[in-house]
Symmetry: D2
Subunit: 289 residues, 4 copies
């Protein structure tokens, strides 16, 4: 069976749990002649919430693409109080990158983009420094610098938001961006800003986590990628990983070892987001595999 | 919603893939008033095989327990050429242990059993040495010693098989048992003998894997738990894990570090088997999470 | 060359860093005809502190065993302001275990002891419950129960300290012991009480760390073994490890997965302590490999 | 104390083990007024071979830089039959890269180079395809393409060797280079060619390891970086790491997950090589930390 990966639909759903939901949703796809290529579900027992991700081929599906949303809403979603998103795999997501001076995460994202490993557009890079203007130009990506200080922050953010909307970005990656975004900014892009924090959250939030880790004498350091909320370093976690260290490692060594961790953890989180495998509920994520 | 964990049914299914299978199977449970508490499925694209595990509460289910199998066969399985197993969570599995002289895996299993962490019966321990008779007696488990040599192997195995059948064992764990089982033995218990091999298979099969690993100068050692087939150390893998080593580690150190790995990997494999989360297909396993 | 592992000396040293220390210390052993079998050193650049562990064979060493300490003090330690400990490998350490109701860590320690994997004596087990009396008796280890409450805590601890001193214990392991020890108790056994905390410290200190982890939605859980100080869950860390989890894992699953982590992390920490490979400096450890 | 990292010497030594070697070597540095900043040693008990790495500051060292080698040879090395290398930290190593069509390892190396994370020169990139000419040019690195086939291989390699010697390369990295190098080539650069193999060697050597891994149904995949010898995929291992997989992962997913592993493992191996922390002995490595 030949698969047409570029013409598939993805539904991400959550709703109050009840009997029969899987049957009902899969039947919707089946009866309309869709072929399910991936399905995952989860029930959070504590809150009795049902989560589901279903992906199917649109070839032969008997609802026109632009009517799937409204049909699903009427036939199913209304009745079961579903919150849902519909995505199509032929749409290439547009990802904005925010960076400061650190290179490793930014370079890693650019490599994945430029080599074609990821199907993603990068319409612009925004930075508070000029450090990465040259590399952005090498990759032909528009680069915007905003010198942010305490006084102009509100005004700058307004410009940034306009720029992001003008470039029709789907989501934003903070690739070790060293400025704290305002509530207004975050609320403009809910569950659409992905950050990488260089510690194993909730340990060592805030500034200089490697210094904190060295000070505490931990034997493992970590990195955490999460959706940004207005609560600093406390948003829904998408991905974490760790590396073992020892008493021999200075702060400088922690930084060096941590950088590889940060770029891998960030890219795994973005990959899950790109595949539409993440669902935010409350302050937690469901990340389907 | 109060769950009755001790009165649930589990269906493990595989069959040729086709549209609608998830709907059809979940509908079977739903229409008979069962409440699904866990569902996982997988489609092996290469061979177009569909795998599914579904677990539901029997309270309120309108098919009597002893007729579920035949009803499922008639209503569903026949039509879709399904291979399937039905298990009930109120049945406590009976696990036989084979051991030689090594203590770590055996002791770990006994600890899990005796502390009540695992719902499992251990009707007997079989060994080719007397080393563990005392610990078996401490835990009140019948212990049988068979001195095996090249001449009496066939005869001994016949006695062992009889003993295992008499004790109605559901599956067998080789807890670092240092004898190779015959084809007859293995065929008597297909996909029911779980072994732990002290290497990262397929690297270093056969004897003395830690010596082989030291000789080769690897930087990581592993352990592999698998169902035993007549092809030595080549059966379907259930679980693997590794630990990092360095040039400093002598063979003795590899053995020491490896022991903790072996017991954890073996126990994870047994846990998956006990939860009925493993499905063997060809020489591979599907291990649902 | 045949090694006599059972007749070796171990020196653990720290002092202000200066040129030539390695030469001076190794020369002491060499000139007195000792054969160094293991040496590791570390310089903490920030504080300019030198750490060293050196182990040598006593066969042929020309200083009598009971005069090594005083000779080293006079020839070397005085001059370089060294803090040091001298240990002999023919002395079997005496380890007391404190436990509450959890079985997994206690059973794991008993298995290592009883199977002969560890050269250690266990002169007694102390508990605030009777849960493990039976297993202690199976292994012929004296078991003492003290019912602790807010009113009798001081008095009970005095009895426990007396018991520990009477049994000449070298160190104490808290194998998921659910009582907080007083400052007096801890100061009586400085850097001699090893705890296992069921989280990746400094994340989730205090009670119910798995509930905290589930609540926060982390993607990894951990365990931490540390020397106990009067600052709760904040003593020098000896060993940490982690296991990946997902949104599928309930608190109950975290507890189950965490137990294997806890017992392995605790036993690795004890192993390092038994090998005299740990040095505490400030609130951190040097753990030689 | 201020360190001068850019003016230090590194000695890598191995010789037959005997008493007093550490004293003798450290005394050499100390008496000539060098300050040791890092020292590590290892004794391979089986073969009775002593390994040591010592790094010291040259400021104040009383042997002129160009006479250290000859002085060490005369004063120490001759007497103890030492094999040794002397390196200076102010020398920036020159690394040639061989690549084929895969981008991930090459891009990762270029990122580390261009961002200044690594102190390394990349005098040239050699490839059998034109795929990466553009990226090489972006980074201003000379790019040479050689179309290799069965007939011209010997001739091409001669040209490549000349090119490498002309560019005074110190070592060569095969960044997923898909051609097998001849014995002549390898012997020209002994222990100076670093490869990344996309499996957990010795499992799955040769072609298509991810296909082999998928076929075998392993639950973990790995990557191995090693010095290239004339025995294919069997050279001394420098670094290995793994990532867990499941039955859900197609070969395509293994390739995707493996790529991140490959680039990290390769870069760790190169880092150790750049820090002069690797010593080859027989078919194994000592990799100091």
């Amino acid at each position: 069976m030949k698969r047409n990966n570029s013409n598939q639909a993805i539904l991400l759903i959550h709703c109050p749990d009840q009997k029969g939901l899987i049957t009902i949703i899969t039947q919707f796809v089946w009866q309309h002649k869709g072929n399910i290529v991936d399905l995952d579900e989860h029930v959070e027992r504590e809150d009795e919430v049902f989560f589901m991700r279903v992906q199917w081929e649109l070839d032969g599906f008997d609802i026109p693409k632009d009517q799937i949303a409204s049909t699903f809403q009427q036939e199913i979603a209304d009745k079961y109080e579903m919150t849902w998103q519909l995505h199509f795999t032929d749409k290439c997501p547009r990802m904005a990158i925010f960076a400061s001076k650190s290179a490793h995460c930014l370079y890693d994202l650019l490599s994945r983009y430029y080599s074609g490993d990821w199907q993603v557009e990068i319409p612009l890079i925004i930075s508070n420094h000029d450090t990465h203007r040259e590399i952005a130009e090498k990759y032909n990506i528009p680069f915007f610098r905003f010198e942010v200080d305490a006084n102009n922050k509100e005004e700058i953010e307004k410009k940034q938001i306009k720029l992001l909307l003008d470039h029709q970005v789907d989501f934003i990656v903070l690739a070790r961006y060293m400025q704290i975004l305002s509530q207004d900014f975050i609320n403009t892009f809910p569950n659409k800003v992905i950050n990488i924090h260089h510690s194993f959250l909730p340990a060592f939030p805030g500034a200089k986590p490697y210094h904190q880790a060295h000070q505490r004498g931990v034997k493992i350091i970590g990195a955490t990628s999460h959706y940004v909320t207005t609560d600093l370093d406390a948003g829904p976690i998408i991905e974490q990983d760790i590396v073992k260290i020892s008493h021999k490692d200075s702060v400088k060594e922690l930084v060096r070892k941590g950088q590889d961790l940060e770029k891998i953890v960030l890219s795994r989180a973005i990959w899950s987001h790109l595949q539409r495998k993440t669902l935010v509920f409350g302050n937690k994520t469901v990340v389907f595999e």
